[in-house]
């Protein structure tokens, strides 16, 4: 890692932020129903959608109605996707004649895509028909991303509104997120990607005759259209098993940089949208700073460890950074940047083998996920999760200045505490519990490829990823088994709904409250002290929960490696 890599990363980051601020502003206008340059194009479609759904745009919901609509849409989506996979053998657009998917894998995948996790226990090109990929998986990629944004909008309204039980209309939020944000960006990105060699076709797979004289099947399909939303929607479910390491998903450096930009763009923009919506840009900036510090810390450690040679290989004369499991066309820097970015924003896409990174890089990836995916985080839910941490931090900070804790003019009492503690405690507990079950049962252990500390990391990573609704895999674990399909499915549901439902309920609670004035006696939540406290709380909570198991997993793995052996 040299100075050029650092400059490259800085420039990339500055570009992302330079795009994110106007996009954040644009979204704040879209979600408050103001006119934008897209209005003439999209408004007729928007109106048509409302008529189709049968909703009155001006009629708002209370939090229970909102949560009900959201959950129903998810249930219907899961059932539809589940059925589509089971029945794909009888349905069109299946040139390879792929049969129906096994019920447990289909259930796991249905939950996975509906919860914006995109955990893939299956291999795309040998499992899913074009129809399933396009009308099933891709549709959920859009919907799950939009649902996350909707949940965030509700929570923001909880803070901005007062003395009302109305927190918005789910269908309106969903439609606007889809029409004005996700769809246009996805279309543009898909076209650019296709221009760079990402395939887009309904033709059957191609058979090539190799120089050795054998036949090789080359999988193709409608990839570019799916790739775009996979990146911008914090999804990550690859068309192919190799995901973004596959040359048809991510052919060259340009597409790789574009995809990294796409991964970070909307999650960061939403933080600024938050600032605009609460009419306090500085607050958005403060939270953005918290996330960026955490992002930078992880990236720094990962880049450093990954640019060191593997000590065992070094003894054999291999020098330079750790290139095991990486695409040579991306190299160490772009692979690590991708790895940190995806584990931060809960995008399950991978462009290198996470199983092959140095143990401490793996630790960074796992730590990013164990925070609950709040470093920028998944669309909407990332900021929601960070706001829960902020509420906890402001609770302690409020006490320490001798005031009833408050944030953005809303007092934080026992009900608010319950609703903020649940989404932090429940996922932490679920990760440890499910990993402990997997590691003590034959069903869980039989999928494991590596013994000892590395094996522990593989299982731990699987549940960190599913509960964090990330979806990336450490690999080394055969996840397409009944045990992992079911426990993974449960994990994804817990991770998603233990965040979204408390957020909507909290919004309902906060909206009903009045606002307390910000006086000289209130703690300024935009200053450096605020940033330091929130960063410390996120790190401390993650570290205190996972220190023992990380010691036995990646840390011991690291100590083994530098001791010169594998176990």
């Amino acid at each position: 890692m040299g100075i050029l890599d650092i400059i490259f990363i800085l420039i990339l980051f500055i570009i992302v932020v330079a795009l994110a601020i106007p996009l954040g502003k644009y979204m704040s206008r879209v979600f408050t129903g103001q006119r934008t340059f897209m209005t003439p194009l999209m408004q007729p479609v928007e109106r048509f959608m409302y008529r189709l759904i049968g909703t009155d745009e001006t009629k708002e919901m209370n939090w229970k109605q909102y949560a009900y609509a959201l959950i129903m849409l998810n249930i219907i989506g899961i059932i539809f996707l589940f059925a589509l996979q089971l029945l794909q053998g009888f349905l069109p657009l299946n040139p390879e004649g792929l049969p129906g998917v096994s019920w447990d894998s289909a259930l796991n995948t249905a939950i996975s895509f509906a919860t914006n996790t995109n955990w893939q226990g299956y291999a795309g090109e040998t499992t899913m028909s074009y129809l399933t990929q396009m009308t099933g998986l891709a549709v959920q990629n859009f919907l799950s991303a939009a649902i996350g944004i909707a949940a965030l909008l509700v929570l923001i309204r909880g803070f901005t509104r007062k003395n009302t039980d109305k927190i918005g209309n789910f269908w309106v939020d969903l439609t606007r997120a889809l029409l004005y944000v996700l769809l246009p960006i996805a279309v543009i990105l898909a076209i650019v990607l296709a221009s760079q060699g990402v395939v887009q076709t309904f033709n059957p797979y191609i058979t090539a005759h190799t120089l050795e004289g054998v036949n090789q099947t080359i999988a193709v399909g409608p990839v570019a259209s799916q790739e775009a939303i996979k990146m911008i929607g914090s999804n990550g479910g690859g068309f192919f098993n190799a995901n973004s390491a596959h040359p048809f998903e991510n052919p060259n450096t340009i597409t790789d940089i574009l995809e990294i930009l796409a991964i970070l763009l909307i999650p960061i923009s939403l933080v600024f949208t938050f600032g605009y919506l609460i009419k306090n840009f500085k607050q958005g900036l403060a939270i953005f700073s918290v996330m960026t510090i955490l992002f930078g810390l992880g990236l720094g450690i990962a880049l450093y460890t990954e640019s060191q040679p593997n000590p065992i290989l070094e003894k054999m004369g291999v020098t330079g950074g750790n290139l095991e499991g990486k695409e040579v066309r991306f190299g160490v820097t772009q692979s690590v940047l991708w790895g940190v970015a995806t584990t931060d924003v809960s995008n399950g896409g991978v462009n290198s083998m996470h199983d092959s990174v140095m143990p401490l890089t793996g630790l960074v990836y796992m730590f990013n996920m164990c925070t609950g995916e709040v470093i920028y985080g998944g669309l909407g839910v990332g900021l929601i999760g960070m706001l829960f941490y902020v509420i906890l931090s402001m609770f302690i900070a409020g006490l320490m200045i001798g005031r009833t804790p408050e944030f953005l003019g809303k007092k934080l009492g026992p009900p608010e505490m319950i609703l903020s503690v649940i989404p932090i405690v429940l996922p932490h507990v679920a990760i440890l519990t499910l990993a402990a079950i997997a590691i003590t049962t034959p069903a869980g252990l039989s999928s494991l490829a590596n013994p000892s500390a590395h094996g522990l990391s593989e299982i731990l990573y699987a549940y960190l990823s599913t509960i964090g609704n990330n979806g990336s895999a450490f690999a080394g674990l055969s996840a397409n088994t009944l045990f992992y399909n079911l426990t993974g499915g449960l994990a994804m549901l817990v991770g998603r709904f233990a965040t979204i439902i408390p957020a909507i309920a909290l919004a309902g609670l906060l909206a009903q409250k009045g606002k307390v004035p910000i006086t000289s006696a209130s703690f300024p939540t935009t200053g450096p002290l605020f940033i330091i406290i929130v960063v410390a709380v996120v790190i401390l909570l993650g570290a205190l929960t996972f220190f023992p198991v990380f010691t036995l997993g990646p840390i011991l793995d690291h100590l083994f490696l530098y001791g010169g052996h594998i176990t």
Binding site: I396, L432, A436, P517, L556
Partner: protein, 683 residues
């Protein structure tokens, strides 16, 4: 009242020790879930120890862990017991002063019946003579009294209470030193001030405040996480070929759980109420005390709060062509039956000017007194056709013009001149003729300006409320340095003002200090309502705090104590959680390094053996509780720094960063001692 004799202290400590054993009862301990889990842990390790003794396995380590876990619970119980015992001691002494006083109840027909004080109902009237104990709370309806309130306030100087006005309240249990008074009882048996005070200081089952419950939810959440961490750790270790003994798992759990704050949380709240009591303020709800820390607006009744009690008549200024004597006589006549302090001061000054001091002047038989009402803004007397009135300029102008007269311009000049100086003009008129003006002087209390400035530093806006005209009010407001004032305020105005602040665009928490009956509605509406102990019963009933010293600047102390309770909780929570880092670095290598020596690099404290590492962490966790008891009883001081960020930064440095570092030093020190004593035996 201070009880600080050494014998008493020893008694308190003995009682607290007893109390900490009694509190081991799991049924009562379950109220504190964190300590309840520690007790279960202690029970399990004790059983293990006994089992080990029985089977002849090495038991010294388990025994030590058990002992320290029990101590952890006992220390927690002791903290709560000692916090409570201070209040209890006071309650005991209060109970002793409340002798079964007899009362002279005045029956409907005017005869007097001797009854027990405990049978008195609200609205009963009693006659109290010199040297009798006042049987219950009430208002004086007739007479003036010198009362010794030391039983309640600890203040030995007797106070004057008199009928009418805002100093008519008397408290059951206090002693009448001189005078004979008639009192209307204002409370039913069991609801007296003394009863409230005793139950408040005694009650172990006091209601938890919202802040306390919210913090408990956070602590419970952390406890659930750490329970999971410890239980799943045994599964992960098993997979890695490490077996962790149950005693160590329990030790790890206890160390990680927020036991420090869990142990001290009840004590902090109780001690806060006690500290209020030491400031002679009785809080009738803990919620109000903590709300005091959030107050952003305080409404101060001018009279008695900002100014020295009552306005005094200092000068009679006759109108042109009116004889001074005529004015004085008219003023005197109209004030004879006027029980207000202003009325009395007019009588006093009038007598002095007429040189008839000492003599009683009685109003003529046919005269009818017209009392003051906030609506008419005047009072006076009707003697046949002669109607004498005194009151505000506007009111008198209305009165005179209604009778066909007019107010001369020079009177208006006099009035303005008086008002500009901050004094109150009282215009006296007889039928159509304005006789002159009485100057009433209002004296701003010493030191009030400084107190108000301190409030402003805390971010609290002070608003003076007064019935005076705007000119007078402005002058006094400027002199006292209040942020704002509301003049010519009626009781409805006060109430509306509080409501506006509470429910407006921004919702302010409002404190109100008052003593009069007309303050009662506003007091009931305010979030923090402090009534003067000398105030009327209605005011005291509407308030959620009573200031026994009747010193209005007490609000500052109340706000500080409210803040200190919260700061102490926040500081100890931060300290407790920050401690976990060091404990991990002690225990985790101790558990794993035997199988994986590589993990020994995490033993950054260089603790001598796994057993001593675990023991040191457990011992540190236990003894930090008694070390912090004094802090939780006295509270973390609220420093009115230049900004809240500085205050927070300071507290984070002390309790956050300090909490991170101190246990590293403490655990290492304990490890050295343990190793020296040879207690770090094999697990």
């Amino acid at each position: 009242m201070k009880i600080e004799t050494s014998i008493f202290q020893r008694k308190i400590i003995l009682n607290s020790l007893k109390g900490s054993i009694i509190r081991l009862n799991p049924i009562t301990l379950i109220r504190n879930p964190v300590m309840f889990i520690v007790e279960i842990g202690a029970l399990i390790t004790t059983i293990l120890t006994i089992f080990n003794i029985y089977t002849g396995v090495s038991f010294i380590f388990d025994l030590q862990i058990s002992i320290w876990l029990w101590f952890t619970v006992l220390f927690a119980n002791f903290a709560e017991a000692i916090a409570e015992s201070q209040g209890k001691a006071r309650a005991e002494s209060l109970k002793r002063t409340r002798a079964e006083a007899p009362a002279n109840k005045i029956l409907k027909d005017g005869s007097i019946e001797n009854v027990s004080a405990l049978t008195l109902q609200r609205n009963d009237c009693v006659l109290i003579k010199e040297n009798e104990i006042i049987p219950s709370d009430g208002d004086i309806i007739e007479g003036t009294a010198l009362v010794d309130e030391s039983a309640i306030t600890g203040e030995s100087a007797p106070v004057i209470r008199e009928s009418g006005g805002d100093k008519s309240g008397v408290t059951g249990g206090t002693k009448l030193l001189s005078g004979t008074i008639k009192v209307r009882i204002s409370v039913n048996p069991g609801e007296t001030f003394l009863d409230n005070m005793i139950s408040m200081v005694e009650s172990a089952k006091r209601q938890k405040t919202p802040n306390e419950r919210a913090l408990e939810i956070l602590l419970l959440g952390l406890t659930v996480i750490f329970l999971t961490v410890v239980i799943t750790l045994s599964a992960f270790s098993d997979y890695m070929g490490i077996t962790i003994p149950i005693a160590i798992l329990i030790a790890l759990l206890v160390c990680l759980m927020p036991t420090t704050i869990g142990a001290l949380l009840p004590a902090i709240g109780i001690a806060g109420m006690d500290r209020l009591l030491q400031h002679n303020v009785i809080a009738l709800s803990g919620r109000a005390v903590e709300a005091a820390g959030d107050v952003s607006v305080v409404l101060l009744d001018k009279t008695g709060t900002i100014t020295l009690g009552n306005r005094m008549a200092t000068e009679f200024i006759p109108a042109e062509g009116v004889d001074a004597k005529e004015l004085i006589e008219a003023s005197l006549m109209s004030s004879l039956a006027d029980e207000t302090p202003e009325g009395r001061s007019i009588v006093k000054l009038g007598k002095k000017e007429l040189k008839v001091q000492g003599k009683d002047i009685h109003p003529s038989k046919e005269s009818v007194f017209v009392p003051f009402t906030p609506e008419t803004c005047m009072s006076g007397v009707d003697a046949g056709l002669k109607k004498i009135r005194k009151g505000s300029t506007n009111a008198i102008e209305k009165f005179v013009t209604n009778n066909g007269g007019s107010v001369p311009a020079e009177i208006k000049n006099i009035v303005d001149e008086i008002a500009v100086k901050g004094d109150t003009p009282l215009v006296v008129a007889s039928n159509t003729q304005v006789l002159g003006v009485i100057r009433l002087k209002d004296i701003v209390k010493q030191g009030i300006k400084k107190r108000l400035l301190q409030l402003r530093h805390m971010g609290i806006k002070s608003i003076m409320i007064t019935g005076d005209n705007p000119l007078t009010a402005a002058s006094i407001a400027a002199e006292a340095g209040v942020d704002d004032f509301s003049a010519e305020a009626k009781p409805e105005t006060k109430l509306q003002m509080i409501r506006d602040y509470q429910t407006g665009d921004q919702q302010y928490l409002v404190a109100m200090i008052g003593d009069g009956t007309n303050d009662a509605p506003a007091l009931a509406q305010a979030d923090v309502a402090v009534a003067m102990s000398a105030g009327t019963a209605a005011a005291r009933e509407a308030a959620n705090m009573v200031d026994l010293d009747s010193s209005p600047s007490k609000l500052l102390d109340i706000v500080e104590i409210g803040k200190e309770i919260l700061i102490t909780r926040g500081a100890l929570t931060t300290f407790s959680v920050a401690n976990d880092v060091a404990k991990y670095f002690a225990i985790v290598p101790a558990i794993f390094a035997s199988v994986y020596p590589q993990i020994g690099v995490l033993n950054i404290m260089q603790l001598s053996s796994p057993a001593s590492a675990v023991l040191s962490a457990v011992i540190f966790n236990a003894i930090v509780i008694p070390f912090l008891i004094p802090l939780s009883l006295s509270g973390v001081k609220f420093r009115a720094t230049s900004s809240v960020s500085r205050l927070l930064g300071l507290n984070i440095m002390i309790y956050g960063v300090g909490g991170l570092i101190i246990p590293f030093i403490g655990i290492k020190a304990i490890d050295i001692v343990i190793t020296f004593l040879g207690l770090g035996v094999k697990i």
